[in-house]
């Protein structure tokens, strides 16, 4: 896994921070955990489930985005996981309390697998 430089931003990432679980028990990603990083940005940890058992993909710094140029509240993020055989780009936004996650899977191993697109939904686990 490659960890890129943290992204420093003046946005408030509060709505993104939390423990998000896939609404589909058979989804490709079981869980996404967003934590606050020093400087006000967000680290994203994902637990992939492509082989049936959740696997920790590790934590990467995310870029966060507001919904308008004028807002200071972040509502979306993008994050990249380098997993060796594949690169997974997550593009997520919060809508009506649901984390809508686009997954762009790019295979890097020369196999016959097609790069593919998927979209999944996550709800937040309240502590």
């Amino acid at each position: 896994m490659t960890v890129t430089a943290p992204v420093v931003t003046g946005l408030d990432p509060g709505v993104l921070v939390g423990d998000w679980r896939n609404t589909n028990a058979e989804g490709s990603i079981a869980r996404i955990v967003c934590t606050l990083r020093d400087g006000g940005s967000v680290d994203v940890r994902a637990y992939g489930r492509y082989a049936g058992t959740p696997a920790d993909w590790g934590s990467v710094p995310a870029s966060i985005y507001a919904f308008t140029f004028e807002e200071r509240a972040a509502g979306a993020f993008s994050a990249r996981f380098e997993l060796g055989e594949a690169r997974v780009d997550l593009q997520a936004n919060v809508k009506l309390g649901v984390l809508v996650v686009v997954e762009l899977i790019t295979f890097l191993d020369g196999s016959g697998r097609s790069n593919f697109f998927d979209r999944e939904f996550f709800h937040q686990v309240k502590r």
Binding site: T9, G10, L11, E26, S28, R49, Y50, A51, G52, S63, I64, Y65, A66, F67, T68, F69, E70, E71, R72, G75, A76, S78, A86, D89, Q91, N93, V102, L104, I105, T106, G110, S111, G112, R113, S114, N115, F116, F117, R119
Partner: protein, 147 residues
Amino acid sequence: MTASTARLAERWDRPDLNPPRPRIAVETLAGSWKKTNDKQQWIDSLIVDTEGDSLYVTIFGSAPPSPPSWGRKRAEVLYSGGIGTGDTRAGAFTAHYRFDDFDVEVQANLNLGLLVVATFVTCRHSGPLSDRFTREFFYRAVDGDRS
């Protein structure tokens, strides 16, 4: 392996899928796409065209600060709708634009005949504008559509 885990394994673990990969059917995404929203938004319309196995997108802005014409860019990565297919009826592509004031990552995917376009706008200079995410919807214009 249970039926459930079999379905999960089909997502990625497919040793039966030998090279070469299926050709990505870029033509499915091609066309002239217009915004579904009557009001101004970030992107007004897009033209998607193909040359061989490559896909190009031309974007027209809807209202400032979105540039009126973003220009034509080659898609950097094409995605099918599934690991074992080149079918793009549920596929996607990504492209990047670089302007004086911001960089834009474009991700577009087909969903039930709509082109769903997300952009991640990163301001290149510190200032009053926040980095911004958009998701907008576009329908395929047919010949004679003057709306």
